[in-house]
């Protein structure tokens, strides 16, 4: 996974509450069994003039020249609610989005972001609105847990320690967990005695 330290980029505002993953990537745009080929379907219901079509809707923020090359999204509360589809995050990543700043995130979506090198930054709605009102690039300093504008205005945010470490170092969670293999095995030996009905592969259960 690509490590994330500091990013300075254009931030595109989508300041609507409850933006759901069906809108971020509709089911009809999840065309392959893999994790790629999704960027074109990102925000398809809002980005294109017709369902399944590819004629850009000029009103949609990512189609506006001033937000060309945006790497940050500004969102409303409960961003990423709905379906657990990680395709929403894969589509954002493939499109080039590296961070979303919003007042709150749906929990599964936030977890999916962290596994895919996208930083979910939580800031109050009025701050997100202030950022959206400014033109010019936004800087996200993950080690310092700060968001700053070019004018020097800045706000601190907090992020879960493990999520921060994963993002900063681009760590693979499975690799980290497999270092606990001995503890996992010991747990299962004890648990198999305590709760044998859980272990379906055990001939004694």
């Amino acid at each position: 996974m690509t490590p994330f330290t500091t990013l300075t980029a254009i931030a595109a505002p989508l300041l609507r509450d409850n933006i759901d993953t069906d809108t971020i990537i509709p089911s009809r745009e999840m065309k392959s069994t893999g994790k790629t080929g999704l960027a074109a379907g990102l925000f398809a219901p809002w980005r294109y003039l017709s369902p399944g079509g590819r004629d850009p809707d000029p009103h949609f923020v990512l189609n506006q020249p001033r937000y060309a090359g945006a790497r940050i999204l500004l969102g409303g509360s409960n961003f990423g609610c709905g379906s657990s589809r990680e395709h929403a995050v894969w589509a954002l990543a493939e499109y080039g989005i590296r961070a979303v700043i919003a007042p709150s995130f749906a929990p599964i979506f936030a977890g999916n972001c962290i596994r895919n090198a996208i930083v979910p930054v939580v800031l109050p709605a009025d701050v997100v609105a202030q950022i959206a009102a400014r033109s010019g690039p936004v800087t996200i300093d993950l080690p310092g847990e700060r968001v700053t504008l070019d004018a020097g205005h800045g706000w601190s945010f907090t992020i879960d320690a493990e999520a921060k470490a994963m993002l900063l170092e681009g760590l693979d969670a499975i690799d980290l967990t497999l270092k606990h293999a001995a503890q996992i095995a010991a747990f299962q030996r004890a648990d198999r005695q305590a709760r044998p009905w859980i272990y379906l592969g055990d001939p004694h259960s």
Binding site: R16, D22, S84, G111, N112, E162, Q183, A194, I198
Partner: protein
Amino acid sequence: MTGRQPGSGQERALAETRTLVAKIWDRHVIAPLAGGADLIAIDRIFLHERTGAAALNSLRAAGRPVADPSRVFCVMDHIVDTRPGRGDQTLMPGGQAFITETRAAAREQGITLFDVTDPDQGIVHVISPELGIVLPGCTLIAPDSHTCTQGAFGALAWGIGSSEAEHALATGTLRLKRPKTLRVSFNGALPEAVTPKDMILSLIARHGAGGGRGHAIEFAGEAITALDMEGRMTVCNMATEFSATTGMIAPDEKALAWVKGRRYAPSGELLERALEDWRGLASDAGARFDAEIAIDAATLEPMVSWGTSPEHSIGIGGVIPASAPARALEYMGLAAGQALVGMKIDAAFIGSCTNSRLPDLRRAAALLEGRHIAPGVKALCVPGSMAVKRAAEGEGLDRVFTAAGFEWRESGCSMCFYAGGESFPAGSRVISSTNRNFEGRQGPGIRTHIASPELVAASAIAGCIADPRQYMRPQRRS
């Protein structure tokens, strides 16, 4: 080896009263991790064809085996066709590959698969309880946000993304921060004709779609205890629409009676041991929750959504609030101050992991019996599992639905989310027993109103959004 809590928590367990969530969490902790998370054991993993192939193929490409295939299950439910005579073909372009690749990957990994034509096929959160795969006190995860449904059995069950699914498959664990706890008490008795769907929609409407964020919910109170297991599943199902980590209900004798005799549940002496264990799971008297919400069940009424988030829901007798966001009103073709009763509908859908179980179908059929849906309304009933379908047919419910003008389908997620490539005509107004009224959820431009199966049935008959109480016959009221 009894009474020992693996990992942390033993001392705390002895010293304090604990919640249901804490009891399950403590015994699943393998190791505390730096940063405040715990490495916790995952007892059951359920995959489906929408994302199963991606996760399994990605693991294989990384050279990582599935840690314990005996505790991994997979079902074809999300994009599988629900029209009679179905096979691997779907109306969704490229849909067949999801089915065939997931099948191949599941077989290769030795995972138990409920395939397209399996008599046990059905929506994951319907068949898992039917087969005794979810058990009280277990941890169960699936790459599906509605996995919280299964918390109705006193399990810690929640939805995850593909990466987390891969992690659980490869390691039998997840790295998680312990959620805060929220008890939602529905005190007193529900009024006549008010359903589990109305309970959960009321909670979300009152406290917002983000109201449960960061919390695992324990649903409690007389109105919850009085529900059958299917009703409890409906309530827990939409905990994800409340942005909660999960929703769950302490297992009581009703829950234990459900589990007994199911295929993957323990039997004999092992069952006796398990029952003893499960009877100790309920939150201790005096256990402290991080947050509490109390709702007087007697104040509830049949609910229906007007907007594009489940929080946009009102009582059937109400009007759209003045605070309604313009964008939602525009999409739905509605205005603030407007009533929903009498709003013409184009289609009606009964199905989904929220409301597709036998009692749901019985209650809808009770309204439909001897009646016909309004001209021009397209109506479908999609049973949640093939077992539900067979049981419903055994009671003659299929004939009630078809005589009333409903299509009667094979089981699956179906038009809850357009994944099978099937939809209603663009712009249709649909009354639906599903869980999400998002823009485009049921297809481009579709205007979805979510409600109970009874309200869907009543509206299908009326041809417009209708109060189910007007269609209930005195002898059917109970």
